[in-house]
């Protein structure tokens, strides 16, 4: 595990180097209040980028050197059978108004994988339904699923008529009723999958690490066909390992919980993770929405270790099919994470847990801060003299000479660009040097071109997401609670009206700010043009990104290929075959 002091030092040094250069430029002709604000925002944002950058660099270093990425005691692999373990494990599928056919296909794929490994009898499967729509269809589907597997395993179904406490209340109700029967529980999401090999390994890890309260198996994004989803899946496969390795090495047993695809020691959870209701009303009070971070913090507070098993594969989930669904989910996560502002300073939490909570809050505050940075930079530029890039040094008019600060500003801009794009380049290098991974991603040329296009695509989407998230944060801080609707998990059809209604404000904001910059601030127009382009093109970009046809077209060109698309992950293939048969998705 890498020293967190070294990591903090690297982040602080990078941030200090960048902001001191900016300070040197700003102080030449005196510092205004606007410039102070500008400097403060640059410092915060640069620090935020530096954290992500160094995390990925550490991850790349770990993968390159083939370092052990976990602090977990890894049991002897010469005993691959779970039968040596007397532990009982429950697999939990908490669901609420999901696509039943997709859900059943996923559960059946997991059961089939367990049966194939001969370990189905070691796991009991619980479908914990909080659904309040189409209940009869849901229950008939589960009955059919049970009928197919009744002779080989245990599949239970439980329905609650109220979804008190939402997902965490659902799990807590399981724990109170049946937690006594099990040593461990594995929490899966309605669209997540885990292979038998990974489930068995997680149980073995829990057996071998008696201090472990929770082990998170990082899920890889798989299973969707739209361009937006395929790009996310590609990014998850190429860049994801660096982030996971960096995080696992940095945090050790001080890790976090991502809400699903994790194994939990039931006793530790029951004794320490009964969540209170926060005082006050929603959005910042009431039931805790993003319960996972809080549960990890409570386990750590009680002395249990929380690990990220970066070395495990076989853990999957589906991304949202399009940008609108991504933003719907983001709105929920935003509200949940901002609630954590009230928990960061709870008594007894470990410093690392406070760090996780703060990072979660910051991941959404970063958007309004970036927005404020853009506004401030416009105000500062607008209020400057026409020759703002020059200042005159010396007091005697004859001896005074102009000094350009263009070099410093371009250096700062370049440093930001390097910190944003270098991790992608490192991830690409790691794929290129590994013959198997290179082939699994479509070959050297295809993967390189895919990374370049992904970088452009994500740069164009970034301002759209920034503006949306700024709106979320403002509305939540103004006290508006959002809904908790299920995600739209299929990608057939495209909702034009929804898209236009959602992104017309972005388009207008982009067009107006571009016109303003063109006429009044030509010096910064081209610097800010990627942001204007993303906003102005928000509607067509969303339409193109949500297209399954375009997703399939890019796959035919070998772009954004992820290993699962080459049939290398049977459990995903099984679900896609089953769902395709039901006509829920264009495959």
């Amino acid at each position: 595990v890498i020293s967190r002091w070294l990591f903090a030092g690297l982040v602080a040094a990078t941030t200090a180097a960048a902001t001191s250069r900016l300070w040197d430029v700003l102080r030449v002709d005196g510092v205004t209040a606007g410039e102070c604000l500008f400097l403060a925002l640059v410092t915060i944002l640069f620090c935020w980028i530096a954290i992500a950058f160094w995390m990925m660099v550490l991850g790349a270093f770990a993968i390159w050197r083939d370092e052990k990425q976990t602090a977990l005691q890894i049991p002897d692999s010469s005993d691959p059978q779970l039968r040596s373990s007397g532990s009982r494990t429950a697999l939990l599928f908490p669901v609420r108004n999901e696509e039943t056919a997709r859900l059943c296909a996923g559960i059946e794929a997991v059961i089939d994988s367990l049966a194939g490994h001969g370990v189905l009898d070691r796991f009991d499967i619980f479908i914990l339904s909080d659904s309040n729509e189409h209940l009869e269809g849901e229950q008939a589907a589960y009955a059919a699923l049970a009928a197919r597997w009744q002779s080989r395993g245990k599949l239970y179904y439980r329905h609650r008529t109220s979804n008190e406490g939402r997902k965490s209340g659902n799990i807590a109700q399981f724990c109170r009723s049946w937690g006594n029967l099990y040593d461990y529980m594995v929490v899966l999401d309605a669209d997540s999958l885990m292979t038998a090999g990974t489930l068995v390994e997680l149980v073995r890890l829990m057996d071998a690490n008696p201090r472990a309260g929770l082990i998170q198996a990082p899920p890889e994004l798989v299973g969707r066909d739209s361009l937006f989803a395929r790009i996310q899946q590609f990014a998850s496969s190429v860049y994801g390992p660096l982030n996971v390795a960096g995080l696992a090495m940095l945090m050790g047993g001080d890790g976090n919980y991502w809400g699903h695809n994790a194994i939990i020691r039931v006793r530790a959870f029951v004794e320490n993770c009964g969540l209170p209701v926060l005082p006050g009303r929603a959005p910042l009070g009431g039931e805790i929405m993003s319960h996972d971070f809080v549960e990890a913090a409570l386990l750590r507070r009680a002395g249990w270790d929380v690990h990220l098993a970066g070395h495990l594969g076989g853990s999957y989930e589906e991304p949202p099919p399009g940008l609108i669904d991504f933003l719907k989910r983001d709105r929920r996560w935003c509200q949940g994470n901002l609630q954590h502002m009230r928990i960061i300073f709870a008594r007894g939490l470990k410093g690392a847990s406070r760090g996780h909570l703060a990072m979660g809050v910051m991941s959404y505050l970063a958007s309004p801060l970036w927005f404020a940075f853009l506004l401030t930079s416009v105000v500062v530029t607008f209020s400057e003299k026409p020759v703002e890039r020059f200042s005159f040094v010396g007091t005697h008019p004859v001896l005074a000479w102009p000094v350009s600060h263009a070099v410093e500003m371009i250096a700062l801009f370049s440093a930001m660009a390097v910190m944003l794009f270098a991790p992608k380049a490192l991830a690409l290098l790691l794929v290129l040097r590994d013959r198997q991974r290179r082939r699994a991603h479509g070959g050297a040329f295809a993967v390189t071109l895919s990374v370049v296009i992904e970088a452009v695509f994500s740069a164009l989407l970034a301002p759209i997401v920034m503006l949306s998230e700024t709106g979320f944060v403002v509305s939540i801080l103004l006290g508006k609670a959002g809904g908790w609707r299920s995600q739209q998990r299929n990608e057939s059809g495209f909702a034009w009206l929804d898209t236009i209604r959602t992104f017309l404000p972005h388009t207008l904001a982009g067009a107006a700010s571009a016109a303003f910059a063109w006429f009044y601030l030509p010096a910064i127009f081209w610097w800010m043009s990627p942001i204007f382009a993303g906003l102005v093109l928000a509607i067509p970009l969303t339409a193109l990104a949500g297209s399954a046809a375009l997703g399939r077209g890019t796959r035919a060109l070998a772009l954004f290929v992820a290993p699962w698309e080459r049939g290398e992950v049977p459990i995903v293939e099984r679900v896609r075959a089953a769902v395709g048969e039901n006509g829920l998705r264009t495959v």
């Binding site: 009744q150 245990k154 599949l155 239970y156 009723s177 969540l275 009230r342 008594r347």
Partner: protein, 74 residues
């Protein structure tokens, strides 16, 4: 399927549950074995404690950094 045909722990069984319960070998849930799940407190730290912690953390960071600089000084 499961060997303990049992009532759903929910006091109001859902519509359709009866059909499932009488299905071939299908049990809704195992026999419940209730245990308590105590509610945790998330009371915030007091401001004085916060300030003291911040001061201590800054002092530790300073000592650590100063120590690092000393260790690399020729």
């Amino acid at each position: 399927m499961g060997s303990h045909p049992a009532e759903c722990a929910d006091p109001q069984p859902p519509a359709g549950a009866a059909m499932l319960r009488h299905g071939p070998g299908f049990s809704l849930t195992p026999e419940p074995q209730p245990i308590a799940m105590p509610e945790q407190t998330l009371a915030p730290l007091t401001p004085a404690f916060l300030m003291a912690s911040l001061g201590l953390a800054m002092r530790l960071a300073y000592m650590r950094l100063a120590g690092s600089f000393r260790s690399v000084r020729p």
